[in-house]
C-alpha cells in the first residue's frame, strides 16, 4: 500500500502542510488586527519550542514504524527531577541538566531494548513507560515544585533580540538546532536511512544486513533524550516541576507529526514536516486566543478535523499511486 507511494506523491503531504500553514496565517492576518506581525509568528516558536523537540524525536520513531507514548510523561518526570534536584537537593545546574537529560535517555533505551529483544509492541511498551514516568514523578512529589534559581530564570527570561524589535527565547534556538541536526541525521547519515528502511520493511532491513537492533534501540533512546530535553525546555517555560505537566502531550505530538505528513505506518515523511505540523497546532491556539470568545475545546475539535483532512489526503495519495501502479 504505502510501498507504492511514488516520489512526487510522497512530497504532497508536506506541500499541503506548508500551504495549510500559510493559509491559516493569512486567514488570521486578515481577520484579526495585530495578527500579522513577525512577533506573533515568532511566538509560535517560543510557545511550542518543547513540542518541536519532542515532535522531532517522535518523527524518527514513527518513521521506523513504531510509536512512543511515553514522551508526555517523560516531560513531567524531567521537570520533577530538575525541580527537586535544584530546589531540594540544592545542586548546581551543571549537575541538574545532565542528570535530567539522562532520565529520558535511559528510559528510552530500556524501552527500545524491550521492544527489540523481546519483540514487544512499541505501543504497549511505551504505554508502560508512560505510566512509569508519570508514576515516578508523583513519587517524587504530588505537589508542584516551583523553581527559583538564577540559571532557570535566566533560561526562562532572556530574550534574544532580532531585527525589527522582535525576539526569541533560548529555547527556540535549542529547538531549531535540534531540528536542523535531525534533518541532517535523517537524510545524510546511515542511521537516518536505516530508520526509513526499517519503516519500509523491517524484515528486508534485517536481510539486507542493516544494523536493525542498534538502530531501533537508538531510535527510542533518541526519542527519550529529546523528550527529556523538551522537559527541560518546558521547565524553563513553566519554572516548575509537576507530575501533571504535559498531560496528553503525546497525542499533540503524534497529531503534529501526522499533520506534518509522516505516514503513521512508517517509511515516509520528513522532520521538517513535523516542525510545520507543530506550528499549525500553535496557530490554531493563537487563532482561538485572538478570537476571544471561542472556548478551548474548539482547539481539540479543530485538531481532530485537521487530522481527518490529512489522513484522508494521505489515503487519496495512496489510492492514486496505486491506480498509477496498476496501469503502469
Amino acid at each position: 500500500m504505502i510501498n507504492r507511494l511514488s516520489l512526487d506523491y510522497k512530497q504532497l503531504p508536506l506541500v499541503a502542510t506548508i500551504a495549510l500553514f500559510v493559509l491559516m496565517f493569512s486567514f488570521g492576518s486578515l481577520r484579526y488586527t495585530g495578527f500579522l506581525s513577525t512577533q506573533v509568528f515568532l511566538n509560535l516558536f517560543i510557545d511550542n519550542a518543547f513540542l518541536i523537540v519532542i515532535a522531532v524525536g517522535m518523527t524518527f520513531v514513527i518513521l521506523s514504524g513504531g510509536i512512543d507514548l511515553s514522551v508526555g510523561s517523560v516531560i513531567a518526570l524531567t521537570s520533577m527531577v530538575a525541580a527537586s534536584l535544584t530546589m531540594e537537593a540544592q545542586l548546581s545546574p551543571w549537575i541538574v541538566v545532565p542528570v535530567s537529560l539522562l532520565v529520558g535517555t535511559i528510559l528510552g533505551m530500556i524501552q527500545g531494548s524491550l521492544i527489540h529483544f523481546y519483540n514487544l509492541q512499541p505501543f504497549i511498551v511505551t504505554l508502560a513507560g508512560m505510566f512509569l514516568a508519570r508514576g515516578l514523578s508523583y513519587l517524587i512529589s504530588v505537589e508542584t515544585i516551583s523553581i527559583d534559581h538564577p540559571f532557570f530564570s535566566y533560561m526562562a527570561n532572556s530574550q534574544i533580540p532580532l531585527p525589527g524589535n522582535n525576539f526569541i527565547s533560548i529555547s527556540v534556538v535549542i529547538a531549531l538546532i535540534v531540528a536542523a541536526i535531525a534533518i541532517f541525521i535523517a537524510h545524510f547519515t546511515n542511521f537516518g536511512r536505516t530508520v526509513y528502511a526499517i519503516g519500509g520493511s523491517e524484515q528486508s532491513a534485517l536481510l539486507m544486513g542493516l544494523p536493525v537492533t542498534r538502530t531501533k534501540i537508538l531510535i527510542y533512546t533518541l526519542s527519550g533524550f529529546l523528550a527529556s530535553l523538551a522537559g527541560l525546555i518546558f521547565t524553563f517555560y513553566m519554572l516548575s516541576g509537576y507530575g501533571l505537566h504535559a498531560n496528553g502531550m503525546e497525542l499533540d505530538t503524534i497529531a503534529a507529526v501526522v499533520i506534518g505528513g509522516t505516514l503513521l505506518t512508517g517509511g515516509a515523511g520528513y522532520v521538517a514536516g513535523s516542525v510545520v505540523g507543530v506550528l499549525i497546532l500553535g496557530i490554531i491556539q493563537t487563532i482561538i486566543v485572538f478570537e476571544g470568545t471561542l472556548s478551548s475545546w474548539w482547539t481539540k475539535i479543530a485538531i481532530g478535523v485537521l487530522l481527518l483532512l490529512f489522513i484522508v489526503l494521505q489515503r487519496v495519495i495512496v489510492w492514486r499511486s496505486e491506480k498509477k501502479a496498476g496501469t503502469g
Binding site: M130, F131, G135, L264, S296, V305, I311
Partner: protein, 346 residues
C-alpha cells in the same frame, strides 16, 4: 501441568490470584462478604462493581483488536456518552422513566453511531485504525466539553442513579450490565460464525474477502460494538457520580482497556481473541487499583505498579522472553516469528 501452563488464561489468572492474595495478607477480611440492607457488600463485590465499566469497554476493545485494529477513542466516547446522558436528564426531575429511557437511548445511539464513524474510516476509507480513532479521541473530548459547556453538570434526577448505583438481587446493577454484554458477546462470537469471521479478518483481511467474508462489514460492526460498549460504560460512570464531566470522564480508559485485552492474551496483531481473558485482564487492573488504595500504598504509585504489571504480563507472553528465561516455548516461537515474514520453516 504443561497444558495448564500453556493455556492462555494461566498467567492472567495467576496474576489476579496473586493480587487478591496480597490483599488477603494485609486484610484478613478481604474475601468476606456480608449482606447489608439487602445489598451484598465486600471488597470482591466492590472490585466487580467498579470494574464493570472497564470490563465493558475492554470487551468491545477485544473484538476491535481481534480484527487487527485498535480503538483509541473509547475514553472520549465515554465522556460523550456521559455528557449526552446527563444533559438529557439535566432538566428532568421526579421519578418518571421517560427521561431515563430517552437518555439511555440517545447516548447509546450516538455512541454506536460514532463507533460506526470509526468503522467507516477504517473499513471503507482504509485509514489505519490507530489514526482513524485518534481523530475521534481528540475531537470527541472536545465535543464532550462542548456539550457540557466545559462544566461539571450535576444531575438531580433519581432514576438516573440506578444504572451505575442501583442494586438487583442484592448485587450492584452494573455487574448485571457487564455480565449481560459479556454474555451477548460470547454468544454472538462463539455460537455463531461471527467469531471465526472476526479472527479470519484480523489474521488476513484480503484472503478473508476472497473466501467470501464481507470483511468491511465485519470491521464496521466491531467498531460500532466498541462504540456501544463505551457508551454503556460512559452511562454507568456518569450515573455513579450523578454528573457529567467532559474534561475528565473516561480519561485513560482506552489505555486501561487495551491493557486488559493484552493481559487477557489477545495479540495486538489481530487474529485469535479471548473474551474471558479480557474480563480477567480488566479485573486485574481494577483489583490493582483497589489494592493500592486498601493496603495504604500512596495512590500515586498506582501508575508505577500498573506499568510494572503491564511489562511483566507482556514479557511473560513474549516467546523470546520465555525462551531466554525459562527455556520453554522454545524455538517454536522464534520459528514462527521468523517464518511469518519470509519463508516457511520447511
Amino acid at each position: 501441568m504443561k497444558a495448564i501452563i500453556k493455556s492462555r488464561l494461566f498467567w492472567p489468572i495467576l496474576v489476579l490470584m496473586l493480587i487478591l492474595l496480597i490483599n488477603l495478607f494485609f486484610d484478613s477480611s478481604f474475601f468476606s462478604m456480608e449482606i447489608r440492607n439487602g445489598r451484598l457488600t465486600g471488597s470482591l463485590i466492590d472490585i466487580l462493581n467498579r470494574g464493570a465499566p472497564l470490563i465493558l469497554i475492554s470487551i468491545g476493545m477485544t473484538l476491535v483488536i481481534a480484527t487487527k485494529g485498535i480503538d483509541l477513542s473509547v475514553g472520549s466516547v465515554i465522556a460523550m456518552s456521559g455528557a449526552i446522558g446527563a444533559m438529557t436528564v439535566a432538566s428532568a426531575d421526579g421519578t418518571g422513566l421517560g427521561p431515563l429511557l430517552m437518555a439511555i437511548g440517545l447516548s447509546l445511539l450516538i455512541c454506536t453511531f460514532v463507533g460506526g464513524w470509526n468503522g467507516l474510516l477504517v473499513s471503507r476509507v482504509g485509514v489505519q485504525p490507530i489514526v482513524a480513532t485518534l481523530i475521534l479521541m481528540v475531537a470527541g473530548r472536545g465535543v464532550a466539553q462542548l456539550i457540557t459547556g466545559g462544566q461539571i453538570t450535576t444531575v438531580y434526577y433519581d432514576p438516573y442513579s440506578f444504572i451505575g448505583g442501583g442494586y438487583l438481587l442484592a448485587l450492584p446493577f452494573s455487574i448485571f450490565i457487564a455480565a449481560f454484554v459479556f454474555l451477548i458477546a460470547v454468544l454472538l462470537t462463539r455460537k455463531t460464525a461471527l467469531g471465526l469471521f472476526i479472527e479470519s479478518v484480523g489474521s488476513n483481511p484480503d484472503a478473508s474477502r476472497l473466501a467470501g467474508i464481507n470483511s468491511k462489514n465485519i470491521m464496521l460492526m466491531v467498531y460500532m460494538f466498541s462504540g456501544f460498549c463505551a457508551g454503556v460504560g460512559g452511562l454507568i460512570l456518569s450515573s455513579n457520580v450523578m454528573s457529567a464531566d467532559g474534561n475528565n470522564a473516561g480519561l485513560w480508559f482506552e489505555l486501561d482497556a487495551i491493557l486488559a485485552v493484552v493481559i487477557g492474551g489477545t495479540s495486538l496483531m489481530g487474529g485469535r481473541f479471548y473474551l474471558t481473558g479480557t474480563v480477567i485482564g480488566a479485573l486485574i487492573i481494577q483489583s490493582l487499583t483497589t489494592t493500592i488504595y486498601s493496603i495504604g500504598i500512596p495512590a500515586e504509585t498506582n501508575l508505577v505498579v500498573k506499568a510494572l504489571v503491564v511489562l511483566i504480563v507482556c514479557l511473560l507472553q513474549s516467546p523470546e522472553f520465555r525462551r531466554k528465561v525459562f527455556g520453554f516455548g522454545k524455538v517454536k516461537g522464534a520459528g514462527e516469528q521468523k517464518g511469518k515474514e519470509g519463508a516457511t520453516l520447511l
